[in-house]
Symmetry: C2
Subunit: 340 residues, 2 copies
């Protein structure tokens, strides 16, 4: 059977099962299956968080859609976001690059500038890596380390029925930016839809916001939206052993997204649900803590925060304003080659 | 200017310089430029070691030369070897795979079995990773973590003029195995030159040997031979600010290597010097400590240990049995696409 017939999630589940890759163990509070692994060896006052993410040319990015500077930024940002998703702070970055031999040094230089700019902004230092050559497609593999106080760590697994479902910022922005880039190219988008384009090529990892949320000690489960709400919420639910209902009208759509959807002749809500790479934080908290969380959050940052649904015993549905129920559409799957 | 015109080592040096990637810093006893980075944050009684290495299809391996099981083993081994090179013990492994969509699940399964077998043998646990799709060539990126007592850590930078140059095992074995595999294919080599073939497809990271050496506290500088003696010794010398003389007749050539070189019509000494991927340990120690090191080492392991030269004030040469001096030929460079 080919990998494309199995799909990314089932593939990982099969490997974890057969090879006994631990979900947690002594010295390993969080193993495979969360945004990042968490190691407790070392100091009692700090856990080490580790995440790794690969970007392949032609699959995860295209050089006609993203400049090398922003590709460098994004490569760091998507990994730093995984540290934020646990509530942690980035510390160290390792960079493995497989680049074609005829790559111009200026390209590599611009890539590295974007990468180090993003690392510096979020407090991470590049400490090593590997420089490789490849034949056809450039490949970027980053390993990001971080740290967190044990009592502040947020896993995917703590949501309970009745908890509210929160999301930071606006979702669907990155996907709308990508669709515009595909349609109109880098130059034309830049002036008209700068916010959406930036959401796609220069995503902002929510490190600061995650730190605020972790310190409230009221967030029960969290992850970042990397594959799209429709794909990531089921993962959060599965890890917590719960279901969820999303209220369609509570999903805040930005004015830019609505405008772009009209131009693209796409359904804005569908973009918001199926679009990945927003790197916003998706989290659960008890209804009784909602007011405090919103209060603390909004007094510390301008980043929007929305309650978009609630966790249930089981099932996953989207409830429209007329009361009708639908299935959440899924997001990105590397081996099913689809995004809807 | 293209990457192929610059070459791997100069490329890395340029990036480190422009982007101020630290060679060491507070909390970072070893940064970029050694076999692995070493982090001191956390416990006072243990440093964390981190290394990362990428393998690209068509460049670092070919599926007609290595089976998926051995590819998995080797992917883990080359990274674990970087931990050994610092004197450390492997702890955690992260695995990022970029595999084509039409890859058979059985291939991935065999790959993972080889990978986990190697990790288990050397005490490392897989704690996470990423599963990606690629268009043309499979890519494997491993990040390996390890630990070491601070006082036992061995850097590349401690060799002094007058120190002796040691190497474990036999070098050139992997390269000879590769040449035979290229010439005769996997099946015919298997029976006739099993040791050489195994050296190439199932390298043994010298974790046990490195631990013995670290505990003697007499090893002043160390690295693993991954790109070949002719390429790696200059790196050790450069990090230590010294030169070296290698005695050609002290380089122990295995009987298998001599036999293979005859069949391949190649110079066995040249294979030993230019051939990479042996993952033997190359290290420096004071002449006065040599007898103790050899005694401790040989009473703990059957792995051979040879003194093959000495460190000098500067320069790099090979001295032949007739007293004539030559230049060390260099090993593998990813961006000069050569191995001689």
């Amino acid at each position: 059977m080919k990998l494309s017939e199995i799909g990314e999630e089932k593939l990982i589940a099969k490997l974890l099962k057969t090879h006994k890759i631990p979900a947690s163990a002594e010295y390993l509070p969080v193993g495979a299956g969360d945004d990042a692994a968490v190691i407790s060896s070392g100091s009692a006052c700090s856990y080490t968080i580790v995440a790794t993410d690969m970007l392949s040319e032609g699959i995860d990015y295209r050089d006609d859609i993203i400049t090398p500077y922003y590709l460098g930024w994004k490569s760091a940002a998507v990994n730093i976001s995984d540290i934020a998703a646990m509530g942690g702070s980035p510390t160290w970055t390792l960079v493995s690059l497989g680049f074609k031999q005829d790559t111009e040094f200026d390209y590599l230089e611009a890539f590295y500038t974007g990468l180090t700019d993003c690392c510096s902004k979020y407090g991470s230092v590049i400490i090593g890596g590997d420089m490789n050559s490849v034949i056809n497609e450039n490949t970027i593999s980053i390993t990001q380390m971080g740290s967190i106080e044990p009592k502040l760590l947020i896993r995917r697994s703590g949501a309970e029925p009745g908890d509210l479902l929160f999301v930071t910022g606006y979702i669907g922005q990155s996907r709308a930016g990508l669709e515009l880039l595909f349609k109109n190219g880098l130059q034309s988008v830049q002036s008209k839809y700068e916010t959406l384009m930036k959401a796609h090529i220069m995503p902002i990892p929510r490190v600061y916001e995650a730190n605020i949320l972790a310190k409230t000690k009221m967030v029960k489960a969290m992850m970042d939206v990397s594959d799209g709400l429709g794909s990531d919420l089921p993962k959060l639910c599965s890890a917590s052993g719960v279901g969820a209902s999303v209220y369609a009208e509570s999903i805040c759509l930005s004015e830019d997204l609505k405008r772009a959807a009209q131009e693209l002749k796409l359904n804005p809500l569908e973009i918001a649900i199926s679009g990945g790479e927003d790197f916003e934080l998706l989290f659960a908290a008890a209804p009784g803590d909602a007011a405090s969380i919103i209060d603390i959050f909004s007094s510390s940052t301008d980043t929007p925060l929305h309650v978009i649904g609630e966790f249930t015993e089981n099932g996953l549905s989207i409830i429209h304003s007329d009361g009708s129920k639908g299935n959440l559409v899924s997001g990105w799957d590397h081996f099913h080659n689809k995004n809807s």
